[in-house]
């Protein structure tokens, strides 16, 4: 399998304090990867650095063999942990915006996802609950035909039913050759869907393995492994 994302020696400090330190990992095509770690571990910083919203001090990021930059943004679909939609927008405006600004945006797919996630496209973004905003952002991100989907805390503040809907959407909404990187500290939620694990603590990668290995060779569930790693970190 070919690598969609390769990160080598990535270092990113903020005000002199390293937030990411010498990170090395890669993501193969067709994988769902869980980027896990406690609050402040550097998950959002890593995703924003991959998206070129933050600039790395050292190291390199390549996406499908190309150095990360304006051209590679078209290969990445990003769902931020905050609501970036413009306050006056309705969901239908957001669909129109994505259709205009992202050439790979699939309007038909977006319509299907709106239906399955029960989104009323006439509603204003400011009138939506936190959970519904997350579902809108998931719908927008997954309606693109990207090579890698970067989902930052997609389950934060969502009830179990909403979480279940989002998990289903991720499982059914992504092409087989595309990969998904999900940043979360809610391990239980993604235990069943992740193929690979990246555990991040204080900007360092403390574990990089497949969930299959964790279960078979370590004899632990992903959650047990998480608790073991981070209680000793």
């Amino acid at each position: 399998m070919s690598n969609i994302l390769t990160v080598k020696g990535l270092t990113k400090p903020f005000y002199g304090n390293p937030v990411l330190e010498e990170l090395d990992f890669s993501i193969e095509s067709g994988r769902v990867v869980g980027l896990m770690g406690p609050n402040g571990a550097g998950k959002t910083t890593l995703i924003k650095t991959i998206m070129q919203l933050y600039r790395a001090d050292k190291g390199e990021i390549t996406i499908l063999g190309k150095e990360a930059g304006t051209a590679t943004k078209g290969l990445l679909s990003y769902m931020p942990d905050t609501n970036p939609l413009i306050s006056w927008m309705r969901i239908s405006d957001a669909l129109q915006y994505y259709g205009d600004m992202f050439p790979d945006f699939d309007k038909e797919r977006a319509g299907e996802l709106c239906e399955s996630l029960r989104l009323d496209t006439g509603k204003k973004v400011t009138a939506l609950s936190k959970g519904t905003v997350k579902r809108v952002l998931i719908m927008l991100a997954l309606s693109r035909k990207a090579a890698l989907y970067l989902l930052d805390e997609p389950f934060a503040g969502i009830d179990p039913l909403g979480t279940n809907q989002i998990i289903k959407t991720i499982l059914t909404g992504v092409r087989e050759d595309a990969s998904v990187l999900i940043a979360t500290h809610q391990v239980k939620n993604i235990e069943t869907i992740v193929d690979d694990l990246l555990f991040l603590n204080n900007g360092r990668l403390v574990l990089s393995d497949s969930s299959e290995n964790v279960r078979e060779f370590r004899g632990k569930s992903v959650e047990e492994c998480y608790l073991e790693v981070f209680s000793h970190a």
């Binding site: 903020f14 005000y15 937030v19 910083t45 998206m51 070129q52 919203l53 933050y54 600039r55 930059g69 304006t70 051209a71 943004k73 078209g74 990445l76 990003y78 931020p80 905050t82 609501n83 970036p84 939609l85 413009i86 006056w88 915006y97 205009d100 600004m101 992202f102 050439p103």
Partner: protein, 245 residues
């Protein structure tokens, strides 16, 4: 780029529709009571003038806002993650800023003519329009400098920790430098004409706005805008970062 401009314009209209309504209201106030010379008519003209100047001042601020606010709103994530070169985003903002400045200059000029004619509908003449390109160029240069200062403040590590303060200081320093350089150069060449405002031709100022009727300051202002656009695009592509830590 046209799509950027479409969304920037839509965003402006949705956010600041009161500004546009204010323009229209000011126009209506002066045009409706035309036919009499009564107290009511004069009162409405005064009201229109008051509202018109407030709207004009608001327009000046909103034009600066177009280049500045988008980088501090969370929606910048949408624009900066879209697969488009930075120059397209900036060019769209500059065009919108230019259009807003042009609109408010034409508005205040047309309204001045109406106010001075007590509501009688008189259209702008070519003579009236003479000072407009220079004034718009000056305003766009100021707006571009503020936009460039914002990008630079969020791109250079030393300035990034205090972006609002850095933007303000950088904009003041740059604008002071640009205007001083222009004034000193033109004084040395003997081409600087001091302002003289005529009551008859409101805003067709000869002097300060005529600065831009000579070749050097026009080219200089255009060069500043172009340079800020190019360097701003480069910084936005390579170094821009909005700290949220």
């Amino acid at each position: 780029m046209l799509k950027n401009l479409k969304w920037d314009a839509l965003d402006f209209i949705h956010r600041y529709y009161l500004f546009l309504i204010g323009m229209f209201a000011s126009f209506l106030l002066v045009i409706i009571p035309i036919k009499s010379n009564g107290v009511l008519s004069e009162l409405l003209v005064v009201l229109s003038a008051g509202l018109g100047f407030v709207v004009f001042a608001a327009g000046l601020i909103l034009a600066v806002n177009v280049g500045y606010r988008w980088l501090v709103r969370k929606s910048h994530l949408l624009e900066l993650t879209a697969p488009q070169p930075a120059w397209k985003m900036l060019l769209s903002k500059i065009i919108l800023t230019t259009l807003i400045n042009l609109l408010i200059c034409l508005f205040i000029l047309q309204m001045s003519v109406l106010w001075s004619n007590n509501g009688k509908f008189v259209l702008l003449s070519m003579q009236n329009l003479k000072g407009i390109p220079g004034l718009v160029l000056l305003l766009v240069m100021i707006d571009c400098t503020v936009m460039f200062s914002t990008i630079a403040a969020m791109s250079l590590r030393v300035l990034r920790q205090r972006p609002a303060l850095s933007t303000g200081l950088l904009a003041v320093v740059l604008l002071t430098g640009i205007i001083t350089f222009c004034a000193v150069y033109m004084t040395a060449r003997g081409t600087l004409i001091l302002p003289s405002i005529s009551g008859q031709n409101i805003l067709t100022v000869s002097g300060s706005l005529m600065i831009f009727s000579t070749v050097f300051p026009t080219l200089f202002a255009l060069a500043v805008i172009l340079l800020e656009f190019l360097v701003g695009s480069f910084l936005l592509t390579k170094y821009f970062e909005r700290d949220e830590m």
